[in-house]
Subunit: 472 residues, 2 copies
């Protein structure tokens, strides 16, 4: 077999991604009783990669691989595992092992795991937590799933304003082992009310006898426990923090959110938006790991609803079909597609603007004005092109005498109005949804398309009949 350690040393440093060992190589080390070599190799593998490697192993060998990991590494690897493997590992743990593992985890990770586990496992986890952790877990579990409270951790460094830098460094040295970050430390009064923050940078660069009150930043951006987690992530993005304090109603410090968690939130929220905007019910698991029936269940509700609502289009078609000239039908797909595309351009812009905070509800008239201008510009130019295209391609090239000048005019005028309507609907519906406390992302392409289809068809047939007299 390949001696992984040997390869590794050829050119230090290595990027684990370039030369990660196969799970079979690690299992061979273990089977050959070369445990210390296994541990040495494991030390050099980052936790997310190690978790992926272990999950590649046959189910019955995963527990063994996990148990042989070096002490400090095991918990890190544990939190990177899939829910299924975590559950498998927990059920193999003795109570002592479980409480040891729990002891190594940060509170936010513990709570994340609990939220995914079945009730029996949760019971066991809570039973095997220390009394102090148990009460913290219970508190954290009570915050709504999309709030700052639900993503924060309680392991931060708290200092007093009357400490010197030297004292602060001593405190940090003592408590650091349990803290998720020591790079931003929070200064509070005795009632834990947030007074300011001190960065590790300031501590490292200041003289040892300086008072914290002299070097602390006393204007601090914070989040409240009930704030939406997406707003929290936006603050990280705006200000470039590596941690953000979370306070309760009395401005008491209750936790912190770290930048890695904020990045996860950003990713989860955008993936959720992508899924909603493509008419899917968001799933949190990785695509390749999601069973097909679950994908089916996440996709079918919207498909069904949208299919049923297309009945309106059929009804409109059927209402007009008998009395209008048949050539008009040829341009229904073009009208529908262009209307739908115009609408989704506007709606995606509005939805994303709301998500990132670039657009606020109060901007509704600015948005509307912009979209009407853009709609008129798009409508006029596409209408003109469509007029030419219909005459040239559909009449001349495809040699269809039923496509008259009047038909071309009706198509291009209807198209222009449909585009303008689509822009208005596409941009305002997400804002309306937000105003009503609904999720703007649902007002995305598929939904807008269905509405624009119906309106576009009515515009098309009414304009064709009443303005251009294209009746039979």
């Amino acid at each position: 077999m390949t001696d992984w350690k040997e390869i590794r040393e050829e050119d230090a440093p290595i990027s684990p991604e370039l030369k990660l060992p196969e799970v079979s190589e690690l299992l061979e080390l273990i089977d050959g009783k070369r445990i210390s070599e296994f541990r040495l190799a494991a030390l050099d593998i980052m936790a997310p990669d190690m978790a992926a490697i272990i999950e590649e192993a046959p189910e019955e060998r995963r527990v063994l691989l996990y148990r042989l990991l070096p002490k400090g590494k095991a918990a890190e690897v544990f939190i990177e595992m899939s829910v299924e493997t975590q559950q498998q590992l927990i059920s193999s743990f003795t109570d002592r092992e479980l409480s040891e593992t729990l002891g190594e985890l940060y509170m936010d990770d513990t709570v994340d795991i609990i939220e995914e586990m079945p009730a029996l496992v949760v019971k066991r986890i809570i039973k095997n937590s220390s009394p102090e952790n148990r009460s913290t877990i219970n508190k954290l579990l009570r915050y709504p799933g999309d709030s700052a409270g639900s993503i924060m951790t309680t392991e931060y460094v708290r200092l007093s304003p009357d400490m010197t830098v030297e004292e602060a460094l001593r405190v940090i040295k003592r408590v650091a082992i349990d803290k998720e970050t020591i790079y931003t430390c929070y200064v509070t009064d005795r009632e834990r009310r947030l007074l300011g923050l001190v960065t590790a940078r300031a501590l490292m660069l200041s003289d040892r006898e300086t008072l914290l009150s002299d070097i602390m930043q006393d204007s601090v951006i914070f989040a409240t426990t009930t704030e939406h987690r997406e707003d929290v992530a936006n603050k990280f993005n705006k200000y470039g923090f590596i941690a953000l304090p979370v306070v309760d109603n009395e401005l008491r410090l209750v936790g912190i959110v770290t930048v890695d968690d904020a990045m996860d939130v950003m990713r989860e929220e955008t993936e959720e938006d992508f899924q909603k905007m493509a008419a899917m019910i968001p799933t949190e698991t990785e695509y390749l790991r999601t069973p097909s029936y679950k994908l089916f269940l996440s996709r079918i509700p919207w498909l069904l609803l949208l299919m049923i609502s297309a009945t309106f289009s059929s009804a409109i078609l059927s209402f007009f079909e008998a009395s209008l000239i048949p050539a008009l039908v040829l341009f229904v797909p073009m009208l529908m597609d262009t209307g739908g595309n115009s609408g989704s351009q506007a709606s995606v812009t509005a939805i994303r603007g709301l998500s990132t905070g670039e657009i606020a509800l109060k901007d509704v008239f600015k948005v509307l004005k912009k979209e009407i201008i853009v709609g008129v510009l798009c409508g006029l130019s596409l209408g003109a092109v469509a007029f030419g295209k219909v005459l040239l391609v559909d009449r001349l090239i495809m040699n269809n005498p039923a496509v008259t000048l009047t038909v071309a005019a009706a198509v291009s005028v209807s198209l222009a109005f449909t585009i303008i309507t689509a822009k208005i609907i596409g941009s305002t519906l997400p804002l309306l949804a937000k105003r009503l406390g609904l999720d703007p992302a649902v007002m995305a392409s598929p939904f807008i398309t269905t509405i624009v289809d119906a309106i576009g068809l009515i515009l098309y047939f009414v304009i064709s009949a009443n303005v251009f007299g294209l009746v039979i």
Copy 2:
């Protein structure tokens, strides 16, 4: 007027978002010659907020506001300004002021600014940079815009493995002022080849005489200068780093990327994807700040292209129209919409999977298998529902005798096949695009819809004519 400072002190700490001063209040302070009050207030305002406040001011007063900012703050605020305001400020700077401001910026920010400025301004910036910075700028400008090289900065802390913790801390104290982060320091040999990293955490917690070689992590994840910036951001997301080293072909350390820049990249890349997937050419400026004609220009090309390609649908309709029974036309919108929605569900899933690294090209058969299963499940269930719906709603309720049992059967069978086809096309086209070195995001809903429309219509008419004999 309101004394902002007074309000502020009522309840420290404050979150600037809660009580930011209006620009008029700041201007009043300045007009009343209360400059030190203005500076005190400015100190408490985070740079991105201060930039926003200054941009609210009338154009002719912005330069004044900027010039009166406290020394250390000015450069921070400068990089948060819009390109237009930056340009306005630069043109008001003397050469000395310009080179002072440039001296305060990190290299990655300088390069970002240069990339947005007109040639004349760039010349002036380069002329007023220190010779050393000038050569760094030129190097950084040569990396492709979407590479790790283009987002990295050269201001990192470099240490040697034979230093003690105490020596390292001394070095850090000396050089920190110019460094973008001191929380991750890089250990290199004399040729700058990366040997490992030491975190500030490790330094703060270790004894002063410990050698760096004993506490450094020697297995380091890094990026290469030419790596795509989205892959760099994905590494931050996966591993939770606050900085990532960037090396050249010889593994020599040339720069670092910090987590705030990685978050910016993540946001920019996802917003670009959202825009491309909604058939828009990505714009980087904020929506409300983008002039309508620019929005128009970013939206019209795809609308136009997609409108022209809808000609296929018209051609198909026109080819079959004369020979098929008219009632079939009623269900064209439903078929088109459902096919389009099914396809975009699959394509958005594939596009995002490729972006986040969840799906790789080698997974093409796994993806295909999943989507065929999901497609069959969706096709069967929607086909069945459509059959009932057509008979119940379109035949009975809307009392249309032309909608026969055979029509309902033709619609539901075609629908099922269209959905399966849509899932296959939607999931494979993005992978194909990636394989060909194109951007998968362009293979999104609008494009897929246009293709699925044409295929769906052909399926529908061929099945109706040849299987169900619905000819006139």
